[in-house]
């Protein structure tokens, strides 16, 4: 499994993928662009753990900040409002673009 090693401040896109089975990547951020807000460490892969396997190798876990208006077209509230979601590295791709 290959995935980028990301730094705080980098722009990322959550993969727009909908595989069957257990994941911890909420649907509402898939395909959406955000910024790495924090690096939470390495944790067993929940997609393996859920089926009784070891979860090894562990995956880097990032805290990714999304602007609400990038998640919901009709978001009512401040343009500054955000959601910070924990996303495992296997769901993230580096994005060369800025915010859409």
């Amino acid at each position: 499994m290959s995935f980028p090693t990301l730094a705080v401040g980098e722009t990322v896109i959550v993969r727009a993928s909908f595989p069957p089975g257990h994941t911890r990547a909420p649907h509402y951020v898939r395909g959406r662009r955000g910024v790495v807000a924090g690096i939470a460490g390495q944790y067993p892969n929940p997609e393996e753990l859920a089926y009784g396997r070891s979860g090894k190798p562990e995956l880097p876990l990032y805290r990714v900040r999304f602007h609400q208006r990038d998640l919901w077209d009709d978001y009512r509230g401040s343009a500054d409002d955000t959601v910070v979601v924990e996303v495992y590295a296997n769901w993230l791709e580096r994005s060369s673009e800025g915010r859409p």
Partner: protein, 211 residues
């Protein structure tokens, strides 16, 4: 009570027994797993009982103590923001093995905690979550229309302040470090801790100023 009088025997006083509702699938599964672990002598009934008792004895008071100390000790606050579990241990509080992160409210950011996927909550630090925290309504609306949810809790966040929702989707848990209310200079840490409630630690409420 006048107006609601019933003749004895018509509606006997009756509090429903919990057994009157059928157990859910998950309650039955949890009971079955518990019975099996005991039967196979992996844990004893007393260990099972004691663990449940420990979990249910946790309360928001521990989180409140951390907040009060952070308000009065800048070095402790820095350590709390770096590592809640280690900072809690300094005060003799066992926050458990799951890493907890403190998110700080400021004049420009208001933080609120949710778990959209299930009901992750810093139980070892602030006790069991309120039922609404586990409801689908809170979990879905908190990321979709957080300002509307906050207003239903009586909390108005001004337009110039960012509402920052933390979705605990994975391996971290969160607590909000609220702003210290104005005009509390004379308060000792016990008095300050009494201001910090469960809902403030979740971020659906804020502490009013005293002025």
């Amino acid at each position: 009570m006048s107006g609601t009088h019933h003749h004895a025997g018509e509606h006997p006083p009756h509090q429903p027994d919990i057994e009157e509702h059928p157990f859910s699938t998950y309650q039955v599964m949890a009971e079955a797993v518990g019975e099996l672990l005991v039967e196979k002598q992996i844990i004893s009934r007393d260990e099972l009982r004691r663990t449940i008792e420990t979990i249910e004895s946790k309360s928001p008071a521990a989180g409140a103590k951390l907040v009060a100390r952070a308000w009065t000790d800048a070095a402790f606050k820095a350590r709390l923001l770096a590592d809640v579990n280690a900072a809690a241990a300094e005060l003799g509080i066992d926050a458990g093995p799951v890493p907890i992160r403190a998110v700080e409210n400021t004049p420009s950011v208001h933080n609120v905690i949710v778990c959209t996927l299930c009901s992750c909550y810093p139980r070892m630090l602030i006790g069991l979550p309120p039922p609404w925290y586990k409801s689908r309504a809170y979990r879905s609306r908190c990321v979709r229309e957080p300002r509307a949810v906050l207003s239903e809790f009586g909390t108005t966040v001004p337009d110039g302040v960012e509402v920052r929702v933390h979705d605990s989707t994975a391996d971290l848990r969160y607590m909000v470090l609220p702003m210290r209310p104005k005009d509390t200079d004379g308060f000792d840490t016990d008095a300050l801790a009494r201001l910090v409630t469960r809902d403030v630690l979740i971020g659906v409420s804020v502490i009013s100023d005293f002025s």
